[in-house]
């Protein structure tokens, strides 16, 4: 960059300081690009002279960190359909249409050989260009997409356009077009390709890429590569097909097929998008692993530790309580286990891994439905056993016992460097920093595992919640409660709007609209819906405040207003 004379710097600095600083509202709206033009111009005029306000704007800029990865794939996809891209699409389409019209004119007057070399290169993009804009972009999107479903469709449409063109190919080798025509045609092709080198419209790059993809498909499909924009001239022309006038019509005629196929595939892709999005909202650890695949007739699940990390090589032993046969499994690298083929009945499942307390779970297995049972193992010596059954209440609510004593000398000696002394606890080896929780303005639950630098959305319904895993944390075996649970579960398929969240270590309570109350013991990786019930009525109001002074004693305040308390970590509740 050319250097700026120092005098310019000096005179800029010597400029008179300005008064009338815009207030915080204006500066915020400016930084968020939401001011209408005249106001923006006024603020810009001020900050062009006022260094303090410039600094404020720079400091107040919204952070660029990503909150949840999946939603960004959506905008990235739809970005292809934004106006700038479409605009160039129209331009390119217009250019190509005019060119092809001109060629058709020439065709009628000149020899078949000449038109051969111009038309195919143009006709193939033309078939796409003739489609209306969204399908065109969808087809391009299809070309650019890595998913296999749309690409073959687009390729098929291209191959279908090329198929009628294949027949007269032998003519190409016999005829040699006049050099001038060849050069001109190459210009037509490279005209758009050449733009790419200059950083011109994005469209040619997409076409090129699309052509590349299709070319690869093409080679396998019918052995005739589609002319690509970046191939050297000689190669491109040897590969060209020579249609006659009638076959040109066939090529354009095939365009509507491209439309519908591409359009249908867009729909399919949208569905996949939303599935992906939902899947991506799952807790981090489970997201990394494959989704549990227990089908009917199988029992399977995950074994995780309290921080949510998967435990591989844990041994699962399933013992039917009646017949006495034993089935075992070992969790794989993703912490998943699967046992097929067990008959229906009551079972006791035990998960053990070195260094963790053995966890035992009793459940009833119905062979017609897949059963998912996840174990959360707390660290400890192998000899200790934690017994969990569907009738009794929940897993012991202690946090991980891999603790350290922080001595007095450590507190005084460890260089704090501005840190809060209580954060020394987080520095102890083996301690995962306590996750932080917040609720965003849309009522979604968010968690940060790196002390607030990045936040992820947490979906309380993402974990595979078979009725049996819900039962693990169920309340006392009152019939009414089970019904309430079932009703509640059906109602809350969508994520609730949260209003309150409280946490102690890795135990989290989150509450929201419509009596939604969720409890997690493993820092938010798995959740259980809790429906407090007292004297025959259940909690239905919006939860606005949650207060747990310790894991056993807690209070819920609702908007109605009601106050519910528990003194046994949420197993039973009393309405005040």
């Amino acid at each position: 960059m050319q250097s700026m004379p120092n005098i310019v710097r000096d005179r800029l600095k010597a400029a008179q300081p300005v008064a009338n600083h815009p207030d915080a509202n204006l500066l915020t709206a400016f930084a968020e690009q939401s001011l209408p033009a005249p106001e923006r111009a006024a603020v810009l005029e001020h900050i062009s002279r006022c260094g303090d306000c410039r600094e404020v704007v720079a400091l107040a800029l919204p952070a660029t960190e990503v909150v949840a990865p999946a939603p960004s794939t959506r905008p990235a996809r739809t970005a292809w359909l934004t106006w700038p891209v479409l605009r160039w699409g129209f331009v390119a389409a217009g250019v190509v249409t005019i060119a092809s019209l001109g060629i058709l004119q020439v065709q009628r007057r000149s020899t078949p050989q000449m038109m051969a070399f111009k038309s195919p290169g143009v006709a193939v993009p033309e078939s796409r260009a003739q489609a209306s804009a969204p399908p065109a972009s969808a087809a391009l999107q299809a070309g650019k997409d890595d998913k296999t479903a749309p690409t073959p469709a687009a390729a098929d449409s291209v191959s279908s356009t090329n198929a009628p063109v294949r027949a007269p190919r032998p003519m190409a080798s016999v005829l040699s077009p006049p050099a001038s025509v060849r050069e001109h045609a190459f210009d037509v092709l490279s005209g758009t390709g050449g733009n790419q080198a200059r950083g011109g419209p994005k469209m040619p790059a997409q076409w090129q890429q699309n052509n590349n993809n299709n070319a690869q498909q093409q080679v396998s499909n019918n052995g005739v590569p589609v002319p690509t924009l970046n191939q050297p001239a000689g190669q491109a022309f040897s590969a060209l097909k020579i249609p006659s006038a009638s076959q040109n019509v066939a090529v354009s005629g095939a365009a509507p097929t491209a439309d519908t196929e591409a359009a249908i595939d867009t729909g399919a892709r949208d569905q996949t998008d939303s599935q992906l999005q939902a899947y991506a909202m799952a807790p981090d650890m489970i997201k990394k692993a494959k989704p549990p695949v227990a089908a009917a007739g199988q029992i399977g699940g995950y074994v995780v530790d309290p921080s949510g990390a998967v435990v591989p090589n844990a041994r699962i032993t399933i013992t039917p309580t009646s017949t006495g046969g034993i089935a075992t499994a070992v969790t794989n690298a993703q912490g998943a286990w699967l046992i097929p083929g067990l008959p229906a009945g009551n079972y006791k499942a035990q998960a053990e891994a070195p260094g963790f307390k053995t966890s035992v779970l009793a459940f009833n297995y119905d062979a017609n439905r897949p059963a998912i049972h996840n174990f959360t193992l707390s660290p400890g010596s192998v000899s200790e056993t934690v017994e969990v059954s569907a009738e009794n209440a929940q897993v012991q609510a202690d946090t991980a016992s891999a603790g350290n004593m922080i001595t007095n000398s450590q507190v005084s000696e460890v260089p704090l460097n501005g840190r809060n002394f209580t954060q020394i606890a987080e520095l102890a080896p083996g301690v995962v920093p306590t996750p932080r929780w917040t609720i965003n303005s849309a009522g979604n639950l968010q968690r940060s595992l790196d002390q607030g630098k990045t936040w992820n959305m947490v979906n309380v319904n993402a974990a595979p919640a078979g009725a049996s895993s819900l039962a693990v944390v169920a309340k006392a075996s009152r019939v009414k409660q089970k019904d309430a649970d079932a009703r509640g579960l059906k109602k809350e398929i969508a994520s609730p709007v949260f209003r309150a969240v409280t946490s102690t270590g890795s135990e989290v309570w989150a509450g929201g609209s419509g009596g939604a109350l969720y409890h997690s013991l493993d820092a938010g990786n798995t959740w259980a819906r809790v429906v407090p019930s007292s004297a025959g009525s259940i909690l239905t109001g919006d939860v606005v405040r949650l207060n747990f002074s310790d894991p056993q004693h807690g209070t819920i305040t609702t908007s109605t207003p009601e106050v519910w308390t528990t003194s046994d970590a949420g197993q039973t509740w009393q309405k005040q």
């Binding site: 960059m1 050319q2 250097s3 700026m4 004379p5 120092n6 005098i7 310019v8 710097r9 000096d10 005179r11 800029l12 600095k13 010597a14 207030d23 915080a24 509202n25 204006l26 500066l27 915020t28 709206a29 930084a31 968020e32 939401s34 001011l35 111009a41 810009l44 005029e45 900050i47 062009s48 002279r49 260094g51 303090d52 410039r54 600094e55 404020v56 704007v57 720079a58 400091l59 107040a60 800029l61 919204p62 952070a63 660029t64 460097n417 501005g418 840190r419 809060n420 917040t438 609720i439 965003n440 303005s441 607030g452 630098k453 209003r499 309150a500 969240v501 606005v544 405040r545 908007s559």
Partner: protein, 305 residues
């Protein structure tokens, strides 16, 4: 209020939109009655000063109604509003303070001070005054909090930093260049005038880009983010500006009687470099080099810099 007083345009539009806006702001849940919300909207609308029905209407519809309601309910001291506010914004406030102040203790202090202001520990005429009552819903509440933090930071720490450097200077007893030296008079007043003229013709955006890059030392990415454009746009603009300003200043100097060569030389040589040179060479007790040599030295340094 006398009923014969004519209702202002703002008031009538507020009455019109009130039902919709009141629901959108979820005002019931945070204890904002329709009347109080209407008063708030009127205040905001009047302060904005738009005239014409469509303008006022567009203005109201562009506001962040739910955040405005929340902020004003908090300012009024409503507890449920505060619950919501704390759940949503407490962490973010601290994190923004950390990003701004970059240092933990300063960030905490910044955040705590702002909390006190927001909560309304200050009183004026016996009434609790909360900073949240100045939020008008034009930008997001989160962004507004960041801006207020930034303003507080700039007011406090930037000023202090400048003072510190001067103190250090007098303590050390050595004259090293302070961050803001008094502008030395340029060798030729014509140069300053010509530059001022050229700068006056710049658009506000160009001026902002120049100042942010050369005075504030911002990176291209930061400037691009500030102005909502791509980084490469900023880079191109700076290049164009450098070339254009040079040309313009030379032309302006020409009109003031300098020859083209003189003008270009005047731009190349930095007077301050010359002066410092003299001081240094004098201090070293060596004979001052010839003027032309000094100029060559300055030019070399300019070329490197």
């Amino acid at each position: 209020m006398s009923t014969t007083k004519p209702i202002s345009a703002v008031q009538s539009i507020v009455n019109d939109l009130l039902a919709d806006l009141h629901t959108r702001g979820a005002c019931d849940k945070i204890g904002l009655t329709r009347e109080s919300f209407a008063a708030i909207l009127c205040e905001v609308g009047t302060k904005h000063g738009a005239t014409g029905e469509t303008e006022i209407r567009t203005f109201f519809l562009s506001l962040r109604i739910d955040e405005l309601a929340l902020a004003r309910a908090c300012a009024a001291g409503n507890n449920s509003a505060w619950e919501i506010f704390l759940t949503r914004y407490r962490e973010k406030l601290y994190l923004s303070a950390l990003r701004i102040a970059r240092e933990d203790s300063a960030a905490r202090e910044l955040a705590d001070t702002l909390y006190a202001d927001l909560y309304g520990t200050n009183t004026r005429d016996g009434q609790r005054v909360s900073k949240l009552s100045s939020y008008t819903g034009r930008g997001s509440l989160e962004g507004w909090l960041r801006t207020v933090l930034a303003q507080e930071y700039v007011n406090r720490y930037r000023r202090t930093k400048r003072l510190v450097s001067l103190d250090e200077e007098s303590e050390e007893g050595v004259q090293f260049s302070a961050p803001d030296p008094e502008p030395l008079p340029p060798a030729d007043a014509r140069l300053a005038q010509a530059t001022d003229e050229a700068l006056a013709f710049l658009s506000a955006e160009d001026r902002t880009i120049l100042s942010a890059y050369y005075l504030d030392g911002r990176t291209l990415a930061e400037i691009a983010h500030m102005l909502g454009v791509h980084e490469s746009t900023i880079s191109r603009k700076l290049d164009k500006l450098a070339k254009g300003l040079r040309k313009q200043i030379v032309a302006n100097l020409g009109r003031r009687g300098m020859s083209r060569r003189q003008a270009e030389e005047a731009l190349e040589v930095d007077v301050r470099d010359l002066q410092v040179n003299i001081r240094r060479t004098l201090a070293q007790d060596s004979s001052p080099p010839a003027f032309s040599e000094k100029r060559a030295e300055a030019r070399v340094r300019e070329g490197e810099g």
